[in-house]
């Protein structure tokens, strides 16, 4: 080959690689703030075979893997550079701040320092499994496992290794012993109960404003255990409340190219919603998909409908986009935990610790999620220490028997005692985006060191549980891949 030909080939290959790289571009609307060096991966304590016996520590606490005489290793399998890294980096950084500046600074747990062992999973199932195997022999439990399919893919290994994991996912199956064999411990309510709760809450409000008239409904969701689990809950509520579903787009938010949700992908959904002219639209989507669908429907002439959706459908960074005004007027934003800046007892500490550690970062709702994950794991570990058993089985037992996991108002208090129907979390918060308040506080230029700040979400109600969700007998996952919708038609 002549040099010229070679260069053509090289250019071609580089172009291909560039195309391939495109898959990893960020899904959210704007770039997240740059992170500081927080995700410090620590050196392994030991990679010896799991059967190695540890010498009994002086304080009579039983240990096996991941707990030494002076350290406790907690794993995080987090998406630090994939499509959800905008959120997950904040979640991980909040956890690191919590472990180091709150727990360890306060003397640790049972005299031991907690060491977070962090691995980047790139939101890829294969990498998730690879990183799991890499660190599982070092840690006593996982305080974060990002993603539903990713966590599902390591489920059998988690069971085999008998190690507790907190999934960063709100699928109703995590509370279903048949699905997770009691090895995952979810935080907050799930997509299914959320769907019921939000629908009933909105319908009550709609009836009050419209002389008791019932609203009509349009639903559009992603496929799988995120979208269809939520759809099962929404449909259950519609059935019970007698709502007409004018457009059913369950599982129809589909991307033809994983890297981008295009207008062409959205057209069937948008035309369906606009043609139905519903009073309320429910979305279970990614924030970028919410923007495309809501923007399209508004342009198509659906200007009066109220919008809402599953918690992950909304991201406060949408307030940096052209859709901010419409979201302020029309969107109801539920939340599993509180948003940044909400006036609750725990917020002062969250803000103080994170400001001291990351003064030049912007406020983020994801900080709260990470904080609550670490807080739940801390209380489980403390219970295990109090029981005198910090083995992996001891940690699982502690999680199952602890009386209350306290969140100081950052989220609902809860426990994992009894049957799923006893312990599944049903409380929810309802927020409303407010772009004026957001911009007045400095918008995307806010920094933690400048004061508490806001992500533009204003608390309307919560924590609340509506009667439907309250009385729902939760026996297992609302939707499964095998059986589909298990609770409504």
């Amino acid at each position: 080959m002549s040099l010229k030909k070679k260069l053509i080939v090289v250019g071609f290959v580089l172009a291909l690689v560039a195309t391939a790289c495109g898959d990893s571009t960020d899904d959210t609307t704007t770039a997240a703030p740059a992170t500081t060096a927080a995700p410090t991966t620590t050196a392994a304590p030991t990679t010896a075979a799991p059967t190695t016996t540890v010498a009994p520590p002086a304080d009579d606490i039983m240990t096996d893997i991941g707990v030494t005489d002076d350290e406790i290793f907690v794993g995080l399998l987090a998406d630090l550079s994939g499509p959800f890294s905008g959120l997950t980096v904040d979640i991980v950084d909040a956890q690191v701040a919590y472990w180091e500046d709150v727990v360890n600074a306060g003397g640790g747990i049972a005299g031991r320092t907690v060491v977070p062992v962090i691995e980047d999973t790139v939101y890829n199932v294969a990498t998730h499994g690879e990183k799991y195997t890499k660190i599982v022999d070092q840690v006593v439990a996982f305080s974060n496992s990002t993603g539903s399919p990713h966590t599902a893919s390591i489920l059998s290994q988690l069971q085999e290794d008998n190690v507790l994991a907190i999934p960063l996912s709100w699928y109703s199956g995590w509370a279903d012993p048949e699905f997770d064999q009691g090895i995952t411990f979810e935080l907050g309510t799930n997509y299914c109960l959320e769907g019921m709760n939000v629908m009933e809450w909105l319908v009550e409000r709609f009836k009050a404003d419209n002389d008791g008239a019932l609203p009509s409904l349009a639903i559009a969701t992603r496929a799988g255990d995120y979208g269809q689990d939520a759809a099962a809950g929404v449909k259950y509520a519609a059935q019970q409340l007698g709502l007409e579903i004018k457009y059913d787009g369950e599982g129809l938010i589909v991307r033809s190219n994983p890297a981008e949700y295009t207008a062409a992908d959205a057209t069937p959904v948008i035309t369906g919603i606009v043609a139905a002219q519903p009073d309320i639209v429910w979305l279970t989507s990614a924030p970028s998909e919410t923007a495309v669908i809501m923007g399209g429907a508004l342009q198509g002439g659906l200007t009066t409908a109220q919008w809402t959706g599953s918690v992950p459908s909304y991201d406060f960074r949408l307030l940096d986009s052209a859709l901010a005004e419409a979201l302020t007027g029309l969107f109801w934003q539920p939340n599993y935990a509180v948003s940044w800046g909400t006036d609750v007892p725990g917020m002062a500490q969250v803000s103080e610790v994170l400001t001291a550690r990351y003064p030049d970062r912007r406020p983020s709702d994801a900080f709260i999620l990470g904080w609550t994950e670490a807080r739940a794991m801390e209380q489980i570990l403390r219970q295990a220490a109090a029981n005198g058993d910090m083995t992996r089985q001891g940690v699982i037992d502690a999680a199952n028997t602890i009386d209350t996991i306290v969140m100081d108002g950052a989220g609902p208090d809860f426990n994992y005692q009894g049957s799923p129907d006893d312990y599944v979390v049903r409380e929810l918060y309802m927020y409303k985006p407010n772009v004026q308040a957001y911009l007045a506080a400095g918008g995307m230029d806010q920094k933690l060191e400048d004061g508490l700040g806001t992500t533009g979400s204003e608390l309307v109600d919560g924590p609340f549980v509506m009667p439907l969700a309250e009385n729902f007998n939760f026996t297992g996952a609302c939707w499964t891949q095998e059986e589909g919708n298990r609770i409504s038609g």
């Binding site: 070679k6 071609f12 740059a34 294969a126 690879e130």
Partner: protein
């Protein structure tokens, strides 16, 4: 003929797979060393005995089978194919349908893994035969574009054929990674639980490693053998100049079809083993990046050579972990403020406003480790194409020739 490996006095010695004693000895030692890895007895290789490393090595061995396949069509027969990820996907989903667990929404026959892998290879080979005629019509970059199209067609089919591939972005589960003759509940060779083999305790990744070592060795040997058969020589003739090959009596269409069929069979088997080993994959897995990885393996290792496949796969598969460990090392230097700290600080980005090429998360101007790896593949492919078309194998050849002629340069 000791010391004169290029001097052949009979046809048999020229045609033998490993002509010199040195090659046989090196191969035996290499195989023994590889076998010892999961036990962790050889100094220097002990760190590889951890489950984390073994898992990477098992995946590398599976990729070796796939790369050997691409090497047949691209390296030996000269037909550039970017469709390798598609054929792997076909193999993987055939295996899922054959050996997966059936549910109301998913197909699965619950047959043993070996049947799934062979079926995966065969279905992929049939599709390879269907694709092959395009290779007779177009060549070079145009063929690359055609095969590139396969990846996108595959992505669409895999994402929408839910009975086979599960749900988009979620995926499905494959059957167990077990060697059972017929009954998957009573495996002949238990590969999925930790336990003792011949009195040696092995984690299940270690068992899988030994199993894959045998399988990959077999496939590599077969592909090396192929090169010296009538078919292999036809491939080489087609690669070097297809018109001339036809004039010599090589049936171009037939040879290209054979190349695609055999290569796709390898890809199908590799895809089936890969998915079964990982156990759970979303349909987006079989994308262009996977194809590019295989192209990188072939070009970095050295196109057309079996040793190139081995070196290239190890290089490409271990690179991400090495970059990661290197970044971790640099970070320790900064934290520990050693004499390397200023240099390390130049390379990694430790915070907002800090200069650095590698950052520890995706945001901001720094590159994440994942992005750095992707770009490294691209740069390495480009660099090898320009400066060392024979790849790592070529570098080895030059080193060998230098010492052969030492102290003379020629």
């Amino acid at each position: 003929m000791r010391g004169r490996p290029l001097l052949h006095v009979d046809y048999e010695s020229e045609q033998s797979l490993f002509p010199t004693m040195a090659q046989k000895v090196i191969l035996t030692i290499g195989a023994l060393l590889a076998l010892s890895i999961p036990v962790g007895v050889v100094p220097g290789l002990k760190f590889l005995a951890s489950p984390g490393w073994l898992q990477i090595l098992v995946i590398a061995l599976i990729f070796m089978v796939g790369a050997a396949g691409l090497n047949i069509v691209t390296g030996m027969a000269g037909q550039v194919s970017l469709g390798h990820a598609f054929f792997m996907g076909v193999g993987a989903y055939t295996a899922a349908a054959v050996s997966g667990h059936p549910t109301e929404a998913l197909w699965g026959l619950e047959l043993p893994m070996w049947l799934g892998a062979i079926a995966g290879g065969l279905v992929a080979a049939i599709l390879g035969i269907v694709i092959a005629p395009t290779a007779v019509r177009v060549r070079g970059l145009y063929l690359a574009i055609v095969t590139l199209g396969l990846v996108f067609i595959g992505q669409h089919v895999f994402r929408n054929w839910n009975q086979v591939s599960g749900i988009p972005e979620l995926g499905r589960e494959w059957g167990p990674f077990q060697l059972a003759l017929w009954d998957i509940d009573g495996p002949a060779l238990d590969l999925s639980t930790d336990g003792e083999w011949f009195g040696v305790f092995l984690p299940h990744e270690g068992k899988a490693f030994i199993f894959m070592l045998v399988v990959a060795g077999l496939f590599l040997l077969l592909s090396k053998n192929l090169a010296r058969t009538r078919i292999g020589r036809a491939f080489a003739a087609i690669r070097d100049r297809d018109v001339a090959a036809e004039i010599m009596g090589v049936h171009e269409a037939k040879a290209k079809t054979q190349a695609f069929a055999i290569s796709s069979f390898y890809a199908g088997v590799a895809g089936a083993l890969y998915a079964t080993f990982l156990g759970f994959l979303p349909p987006e897995q079989w994308n262009l990046f996977l194809s590019v990885q295989f192209i990188a393996i072939i070009l970095i290792g050295g196109a057309g050579t079996t040793i190139g496949v081995v070196l290239g796969t190890l290089f490409v598969q271990l690179l991400p972990r090495l970059v990661e460990n290197f970044t971790g090392f640099l970070e320790e230097q900064i934290v520990g403020e050693t004499w390397l700290a200023p240099l390390a600080d130049l390379i990694i980005k430790t915070g907002e406003g800090d200069f650095g090429i590698l950052s520890l998360a995706a945001q901001g101007p720094g590159l994440s480790i994942f992005q750095a790896n992707t770009i490294l593949y691209g740069l390495l492919i480009a660099a090898f194409l320009i400066f060392e078309p024979l790849g790592l194998y070529g570098i080895w050849l030059r080193i060998r020739n230098y010492w052969k002629g030492w102290p003379f340069t020629y």
